[in-house]
Assembly symmetry: D2
Homo-oligomer: 122 residues x 4
Amino acid sequence: MRVEETEIFKKYFENLTDRERAVFEGGITLGALFHQFVGTPVSKDNKESLERAIEEAMKNQPCVYDIKVKIKDVGEKYTSLDGRMLDVDLKIKINRTIAHLKLEYIAEIDYPLMYVKELYEE
Amino acid sequence: MRVEETEIFKKYFENLTDRERAVFEGGITLGALFHQFVGTPVSKDNKESLERAIEEAMKNQPCVYDIKVKIKDVGEKYTSLDGRMLDVDLKIKINRTIAHLKLEYIAEIDYPLMYVKELYEE
Amino acid sequence: MRVEETEIFKKYFENLTDRERAVFEGGITLGALFHQFVGTPVSKDNKESLERAIEEAMKNQPCVYDIKVKIKDVGEKYTSLDGRMLDVDLKIKINRTIAHLKLEYIAEIDYPLMYVKELYEE
Amino acid sequence: MRVEETEIFKKYFENLTDRERAVFEGGITLGALFHQFVGTPVSKDNKESLERAIEEAMKNQPCVYDIKVKIKDVGEKYTSLDGRMLDVDLKIKINRTIAHLKLEYIAEIDYPLMYVKELYEE
């Protein structure tokens, strides 16, 4: 049984709507992903294994329904993973509510932005 | 001007209520804090400087209104900061809505839980 | 060309013997590995993808000749990767000198120790 | 008693000269520092508390004799700490041998380089 399925866990979230819960869990997972993996050595040689490992690791987080990670602008020479290289699509599911969240670099504000792309009922 | 005050930033959040936005930003900041600092060497000698530095660092994150970090169970011997040692109170403010969020270790589920303690209008 | 093969890089290391250089680079890579990945969510489901991704990431670091990562004590329930779960064999090669380094948990001192297992000429 | 003063710890290092040991411990500490703190939110407001907290945290690591951390190119707007912003002087002491190590950005190779500036007897 996953931790989020336990009764003790659930009672901490009775004060939130499904939508609020979905964006809360999504925020945690995006913040966690960014700050866990920024700094990791990456080059063309390990780009794909790192993308898959980030996806698989974050699927452990509560309520993650689906996640797709792309690392952009990777060259021959290795570099430390910068948050601006991350492009993430994350789906969180709470009952029938799905939050589709995004982490992507927004050039106009020079910022790797985390936001909610869509919130819908399945 | 803080990044969250720019018009470009703001338009990404028009699809959320103030409550949803508050818990989303709170989730990001708690997930970020945990995964940034877990692993840091900590002993009685540097416990306080680390607590203050975590607070000051996380105040940079969008919409953080107040934050208090306590590191528990620190002994003479240094150890790597474990998420179960963290006790965090975080307040996020969106217009007049305040989300009071918490990260604390819950022994019954052996889990450092992030949850929303209170959501209220100022 | 890898960064460590450039002339500018090389001139910073003229003051070290091959043995000194080998253990210096090995220390960097072990310290980096530990503090980059501690905290990552891990369960039986993603243990292997994480082990492989850590190996592939750290092969980018200067002078890494071979690396094998094992994550121990992973259960059904996910947890944050703790340094005590890591068992790493790392080989660094400088000209004909090889340093075989180790990161493993030593119960007597309750410490995830990094040390040089063997230093030899190939 | 610090962990490095225990007999069990010491016996793992009998195969190294004092110089080798000094650069090994120095490598660990620089690799650890970089990968622990890269990604931390930093602006003018928290630059100094972060510099001090990094120094104090890393003094826990075995054999650290002195450390000075400077974070460069910090602006009004907050950013994630990038390894290229770090300027670190670290001294490791093993018996009478001191290794003075450096982490600094080298523009010619676009690389935050860790190297041994000086190795001497006190």
